[in-house]
Symmetry: C2
Subunit: 339 residues, 2 copies
DNA sequence: GCGCTTTAGTAACGCGCGTTAGTACGATGT
DNA sequence: ACATCGTACTAACGCGCGTTACTAAAGCGC
């Protein structure tokens, strides 16, 4: 706490200590290959930096150089761990690009979110990533137009902003296909309950896979449910207790619903995967890995989307055009023991 | 993307547009009550700011004012949602204090963590919060000494840095007490498996509560387990299948273990809470709220710890001394239906 | 000994802003 | 009529740095 009032070491201090001009120190710091500094001087300056504990002032540097070298990430920080993976992917990629990534939670309320944009822009972020926890359309505050922005796991309502989203159709197809490959022919689908992209896309993929396998679509096998364990439980009950032949496999709209489905199945004395196969969606580690047996599921590629978002941001800030405004990324299958 | 190369609006632009000097604009922006600016001028300047879309440059401002008005938060971003609550608490509190909070993930590797400190210090953060996902001792990179730092959910190995941690003893006491109040006398304790503060403290609280109730400590009722659902399952089996009278209640070291314990209990045809009561720890929403029946558990007050950490940081940066180096905060009981 | 090139630097400006010291001007008191 | 005082500003400096333009000295060929 003693270091509080002490004036911090500046480049001039380093220059004086090394017996050179401030310009020379700057050249060494920025490793400018032109205007050649001899090795001996370089080392002397580096030694002075070390000895004095000099630390460049990023604000002053950004001011003079007119670029800040960092991106901002605004994300909904909710209990779901999704945001976490986006952060990982984005931060690692930014780091590899020599950029820094600063994060802000944006889900408190609308005003706070706008304030987050303002703050990040005041800090002169070179670009912004905006990530949501569930795939949907968003509208950003007007401030977002002042700097390159890439949307992650969401898309602009009026299609102007570039985005990277999961390929829901392919994901639904992958899950269904996996069950088909295991020999199942009557596959129940506990879908998410509204017209959100995940529900629409996954159902489309589900039907497509069935059709490719030469099967008819049986609408009574598709039951919407609330996106919770209880919702999954109720929907699973409905499918398991139906008249006629019940499904031999359940494709659940997310892992929480699969968790409920497990309960319904176990209650009826059925075993997973022997009597009924279950496949989930989201690959929510806390659930999927700890359910017994482990839940085979389709992962949302949050980490990859985060990384890809940074890539796109890099291209945008460099002034390069993007080949596609909306990039769809695949959802990989995670095998455990429920199929 | 067109706004990329355009020079940004500066205070001078605003001054020119409003027909005043830059100083006057600065006074208005900083709402300096002395050197009175008449209402009319103030409004004119505000109008110019609006019209030109002026946005202050935080870097330049920090440079001139010698303070940045923001804190940094370095946290392990792991799949567990704990960090998320710390972020919420810290961000809201910082916001209320007129400070901004920028977050960085620090758990990739040691080098990246040190780099995160460096970067935040280069940006001239006024103070740093360092948060972990599980309560333990940490050692920070030396750079951490350059600025006030508060540890959240962890503590400095050599006790020099201020910290805010959960009161594990009180938490263990609370959980045990709840079961005692429900009439249980034989309470099994599935503890975390190593000498970490959580395991040590909670056991201490458990024993203390039993003693206060006039009960003897039966060491055979305390079973350590791996901190997973499988670990909880195994430990629960051991307790349920033991010789002699089995416990009527289980206190689980965390919610994941409780999840496993549920399975063990259900397998034996026992019902929760009628035949066996279960209480968890952590209040991990994804598990506790979605288990059936809902898991009564003790919450780790992450959000509150985050807020408290910011408070301490505020005091430190203001040069005020702290009353305690280590602050312990209570772990509240979350009632659901498993007791 | 002279001009030319390379080496090894440096002086000085400006980035956008906060702040201090000072000024012009009208109103007030006597 | 003049000194005094508040009002409403402004000029100018410096924060720490990147960068451009320039220079002094050394090396080299003839």
């Amino acid at each position: 706490m003693a270091t509080n009032k002490a004036r911090r070491v500046t480049m001039s201090d380093v220059a004086r200590h090394a017996g050179v001009s401030r310009t020379t120190v700057s050249f060494v710091l920025n490793e400018r290959a032109d205007a050649g500094i001899p090795e001996e001087t370089r080392l002397r300056i580096r030694a002075s930096i070390e000895e004095l504990g000099y630390r460049p002032n990023a604000g002053a540097r950004a001011l003079a150089a007119k670029r800040s070298e960092w991106y901002g990430l605004i994300t909904e920080i909710v209990t779901a761990p999704f945001a976490v993976d986006v952060i990982k992917g984005a931060q690692d990629r930014a780091w590899a690009d020599g950029k820094f990534l600063l994060i802000t939670a944006g889900d408190r309320d609308r005003a706070m979110e706008a304030a987050a944009f303002d703050k990040l822009l005041e800090q002169r972020a070179e670009g912004l990533l905006y990530a949501t926890t569930w795939h949907r359309a968003v509208t950003l505050p007007p401030a977002a137009r002042e700097v390159p922005v890439v949307l992650v796991n969401c898309f602009d309502a009026d299609g102007a902003l570039p985005s990277v989203v999961p390929d829901e159709v392919a994901g639904g197809h992958t899950a269904t296909r996996r069950l088909l490959d295991a020999g199942h022919r009557r596959i129940g689908f506990i879908n998410l309950d509204t017209g959100i992209p995940a529900a629409v896309g996954r159902r489309q993929g589900y039907e497509q896979a069935l059709r490719e396998a030469g099967l008819d679509i049986d609408d009574s096998l598709v039951v919407p449910g609330h996106a919770t364990a209880d919702g999954g439980y109720a929907a699973a009950c409905e499918l398991l207790d139906r008249e006629g032949d019940r499904p031999t496999a359940l494709f659940c709209g997310n892992d929480r619903m699969a968790m409920g489905a497990y309960d319904a199945i176990k209650e009826r004395g059925l075993r997973i995967p022997d009597d009924i196969a279950v496949i989930g969606f989201d690959n929510q580690e806390l659930i999927a890995a700890y359910l017994r047996p482990g839940l085979t599921t389709v992962a949302l590629p949050f980490e990859f989307m985060g990384a890809k978002g940074v890539d796109m941001l890099g291209a945008l800030t460099a002034g390069q055009p993007l080949d596609t405004t909306q990039m769809k990324v695949d959802c990989p299958l995670i095998e455990r023991s429920s199929v």
